[in-house]
């Protein structure tokens, strides 16, 4: 009896001790809204950096670098931003490779305990924002490298998860077939837009025109991602284009992951999946050999597109001589939601397998407690410890970077050559309140070079 009690307590302690790794940490984002409302990026950077090794463990270093990479961008330190985003990209590749080798063995582990190798949208937009950093530093060649990577990654999105599917399928605990969702996102309008700007700055209107056509194509063939009207962009082959000011605004909170509670009830040789919020219909799956009347709980992550308080962004040129409203070119939130669906079936099957295998093991352990522990208080305590241990390891992995914008808005404004005063205003949804405005006293607009102004409002 002593042995059973000790083993159960030891197991529970181990699980609870490991809870830090079993749940998504949020300490590093304390008072995030206050920092952002005050545009206190230095304060946020200090807070984030202080959490290295604490809330951001080794397995979370992709997030650490993504968060810092984006914060340094907002600060205007494009060199540091690129360094962090480079490191994030390197780690995404390394952790992904590592996850393949752990594949079958990691099937029963909570995702929170594994190295986070980033969501697909994070992987893609890391390169997009690096390209924007290079454009800000007028390093066109380097911007092109990043934009080519965006296209490479988009071509292989599905394949990335197919490999993980194969690894999971090798597990001895596999009871269900693993599937991967299909990808409909193969062309980023924002990526193409940046490429078009870079080609125009290089004096290559024909190459820029190829990207212009790709933007049109992105809107035409991916309506589930590009729901809005394509922004007004002039064809680079159009005659008399003249000097142009390009304005980019990053708006809205980063897409976030939330947990959906799911219950499993067992019948003889079957399990029934029940979504607590009834967002999905109950589903019965065959599970040969499973006993009836067992009950397990787990949580599944899903991504939500956060609503922004910004209704519109306008650029006011030369104290009101011209006012132009920016239009959305990319909804990063929609891309996040869409690309998450590629791996969602994998997470779903993995989570069900894990909770059933662990739940069955816990049921056996509790039966053993009933059989061997005569003291009812000790037996109850042991069973509570088992349940607590199982519940603690069934949290959804809600890790995701916090500082990507939700939307990217752009405008192309033809202007006479020379210095221009530019003011960007972020206006509330009711059109009454100016939430934030930023002034650029002298933006040089020339026929040859890229004139790019960028601002953000991500709270």
């Amino acid at each position: 009896m002593k042995r059973v009690c000790f083993a159960v307590l030891f197991l529970a302690t181990l699980l609870i001790m490991g809870c830090g790794s079993m749940a998504t940490q949020t300490k590093q984002y304390k008072d995030l809204d206050v920092f952002l409302a005050n545009r206190n990026i230095d304060g946020l950077i200090t807070q984030i950096e202080a959490q290295k090794g604490k809330a951001y463990k080794e397995k979370d270093m992709v997030l650490y670098n993504l968060d810092l990479g984006m914060l340094y961008r907002y600060k205007g330190d494009y060199v540091k931003s690129t360094a962090h985003l480079d490191e994030a990209e390197r780690l995404m590749e390394e952790f992904y490779t590592k996850s393949l080798s752990k594949g079958a063995a990691s099937l029963l582990l909570n995702d929170n305990a594994l190295d986070y190798f980033g969501e697909d949208y994070e992987d893609i937009y890391t390169n997009v924002f690096k390209a924007m950093n290079y454009l800000q530093r007028t390093s066109l060649d380097s911007a092109f490298v990043e934009l080519r990577r965006v296209n490479d990654k988009l071509s292989f999105l599905e394949d990335k998860h197919q490999k993980i599917k194969q690894e999971y399928s090798k597990s001895d605990d596999k009871k269900l077939e693993f599937e991967v969702g299909s990808n409909q996102f193969s062309n980023s309008a924002l990526g193409r837009y940046l490429s078009m700007l870079a080609y125009k700055a290089e004096g290559k209107p024909y190459d820029a025109n190829v990207d212009y056509k790709k933007i049109e194509e992105a809107y035409k063939i991916q309506p589930e991602i590009y729901k809005n009207k394509m922004p007004e962009i002039r064809d680079p082959l159009q005659k008399d284009l003249g000097p142009t000011l390009n304005v980019v605004a990053l708006v809205g909170k980063s897409p976030q992951k939330k947990a959906r509670q799911v219950h499993i009830k067992t019948l003889a040789n079957q399990i029934v999946i029940v979504y607590v919020d009834k967002s999905v219909e109950d589903r019965t799956i065959s599970w040969p050999g499973i006993n009836p009347n067992l009950y397990f709980k787990f949580a599944l992550p899903y991504i939500v597109n956060e609503e922004s308080p910004v209704g519109k962004v306008r650029a006011i040129i030369d104290d009101g001589a011209q006012t132009v409203e920016l239009n959305k070119i990319e909804d990063i939130g929609d891309v996040a939601v869409h690309t998450f669906k590629i791996k969602e079936p994998l997470i779903y099957t993995k989570s069900i397998t894990r909770s059933v295998v662990k739940g069955v093991a816990a049921a056996i352990a509790k039966q053993k407690v009933d059989d061997e522990v005569s003291n009812p208080i000790a037996a109850a305590a042991a069973k509570i410890a088992i349940d607590a241990g199982v519940a603690a390891t069934e949290n959804a992995d809600l890790r995701t970077s916090r500082f990507f914008p939700n939307d990217v808005l752009v405008a192309e404004i033809p202007l006479p050559e020379g210095d221009h005063k530019v003011k960007l205003e972020f206006v509330s949804k009711d059109g009454v309140t100016t939430l934030y405005s930023e002034e650029y006293p002298a933006v040089k607009v020339t026929p040859k070079n890229l004139s790019l102004v960028e601002s953000w409002y991500i709270q």
């Binding site: 002593k2 042995r3 000790f6 083993a7 030891f10 992904y96 490779t97 590592k98 996850s99 393949l100 080798s101 752990k102 060649d141 380097s142 092109f144 490298v145 080519r148 990577r149 296209n151 490479d152 071509s155 292989f156 394949d159 197919q162 490999k163 194969q166």
Partner: protein, 200 residues
């Protein structure tokens, strides 16, 4: 009970040993091939430069030029565009080519645009600061006969965790006076990068 403690100690020992520093630095020869990430590296740069120069020197135009003009051709290196999806230090690659060609003794190089600006500043400075005998003449530079240009492109294919990377390096030598292309060289490198991952 005892058994459990032994297991626990073993797990802890294993965990602790796995956490310890594990860096090992080894000095190797600079011409040793070290393919770590599968990306473009010093070995690629060296191999492509050697191959390009070997190809260039076996063509008749260098010999023809030398016998016609009584001197080797003067070459300037233009831009080698990185059209790949990797950040490649093209200047390192260009220096590899310059060095190989210069050491072959068959061509001479004119300093690149950025290097020339430094030299010109120095020459101007000499006009007021150096002695008359030692100050170098203005407007006595040698004009290049040819410009070497090129590009590096990549094609990437990927399936089931295996990545095939195809690098294509194209170089051309253009006659500066008449824009005729005198030579075109091409070297391709193919690498297969398997994502088998780490064994723990």
């Amino acid at each position: 009970m005892k058994k459990l403690f032994i297991i626990l100690s073993l797990v802890l020992l294993l965990a602790l040993t796995a956490c310890g520093p594990n860096r090992n630095v080894q000095r190797v020869s600079t011409d040793q091939t070290t393919d770590l990430s599968g990306r473009w590296n010093d070995t690629d740069s060296r191999l492509v430069a050697e191959e390009m120069v070997r190809d260039l020197l076996t063509r008749p135009f260098v010999g023809n030029f030398t016998s016609k003009n009584g001197r080797p051709p003067y070459v300037i290196v233009g831009t080698v565009k990185n059209l790949s999806s990797e950040h490649i230090a093209t200047d390192v690659f260009v220096k590899d080519i310059e060095r190989e060609l210069l050491n072959s003794g068959t061509v001479r190089f004119v300093a690149s645009r950025s290097d020339r600006d430094d030299i010109r500043d120095e020459r101007l400075d000499q006009q007021s600061q150096a002695t008359e005998e030692s100050a170098k003449r203005l407007a006595a530079e040698v004009g290049a006969d040819y410009m070497l240009q090129g590009s590096i492109k990549t094609i990437i294919d990927r399936v089931e965790g295996v990545q095939a990377k195809f690098y294509q390096v194209d170089m051309q030598l253009i006659n500066i006076e008449n824009n005729l292309t005198e030579w075109m060289g091409n070297k391709s490198i193919k690498k297969v990068v398997s994502q088998r991952g780490y064994k723990l």
